[in-house]
Assembly symmetry: C2
Homo-oligomer: 162 residues x 2
DNA sequence: CGAATGTCAGAGTCACTGATATAG
DNA sequence: CCTATATCAGTGGCTCTGACATTC
């Protein structure tokens, strides 16, 4: 009735793999969730090995790609909430990967800049991320990867406005 | 620097839509997450209007599609943890959508069955879910929907084993 | 004045762990 | 004896809300 040799508290009492997908397994929302969770775990595992989280990469990457920005602007770019950005930047600043400087033109703002150490860190994380994404998409051909990303981008755009 | 007329605490300080995607916006793991969250919110909103959650549908659907099962078996089918299944079944049983009967062949088990009321509820939820998925995938042609689901299924299979 | 910024404190949800009593 | 089942209690992470002082 059950399957292989697994002790009690494994993952979530896994199904008998290889079976044809049930109705709920074909639900896009479910598929998205399951894939997101698994991809996240994979990424978190690898990144925690170097003491990083994916948000670190997101922020550093944005700073390098689009230049310095206020925290609110960074928040917009990355999709991370203003309120959560604070602690995140604290983490990055502790390691001197970023620096906060008061904006002379607008004293409400901090200008956040990436440091040299931050750039080095970013390269390290970028390499890791590339490996992770590559493992993630291992079963797909380059064309399929493009296709998947494109579909997800379009879906994202559609859901953005609800 | 900012965009339209939005009060302070909207969503997450949204980006200027329509811009070309940045590096991080093209990351599959990020795309999956964002889409999953948004799809979830959409589903939760609609389902809460009739006092349901997506897990209700998952369980009822599984019972109808694959027949009665023990809680552990249901857990395997749906991917919901055994420990979370308890409260979920309590909710469903309160409304008499499912019933727990002791399994005569194995007194550790409860056999969970769907009731007539449960079947009616399932139909109601299935209709809602169809609408939700339809809205979710609105921008895609039928062929593209199949494609997306197929890609996500394959990805899921791949990540299942890590 | 209304709106944006950085910050903090906390809610709600979800995946997940661990332990226990009971039964195979 | 080891394993499975149903159950309960609790953790950790993440999204998200609300409020506040300061500045535009």
């Amino acid at each position: 009735m059950t399957n292989a040799a697994r002790t009690d508290s494994d993952h979530a009492d896994m199904p008998a793999a290889g079976a044809p997908p049930t109705r709920i397994q074909r639900l896009p929302s479910r598929l998205l969730n399951q894939n997101a969770n698994r991809a996240d775990r994979l990424a978190a595992e690898r990144l925690s090995a170097v003491g990083a989280r994916k948000w670190h990469y997101a922020v550093l990457s944005s700073l390098e790609e689009s230049g310095p920005a206020s925290q609110a602007e960074l928040s917009r770019r990355t999709g991370i909430y203003r309120s959560d950005m604070v602690a995140l930047l604290n983490e990055l600043a502790e390691h001197d990967y970023v620096r906060r400087a008061p904006d002379p033109d607008d004293r409400r703002r901090n200008v956040v800049l990436i440091t040299d150490a931050g750039r080095t860190r970013l390269e390290e994380l970028a390499k890791l991320i590339r490996q992770i994404e590559d493992d993630l998409l291992a079963p797909f051909s380059p064309a399929e990867r493009e296709l998947l990303i494109d579909l997800l981008l379009r879906l994202n755009e559609h859901l953005e406005t609800r």
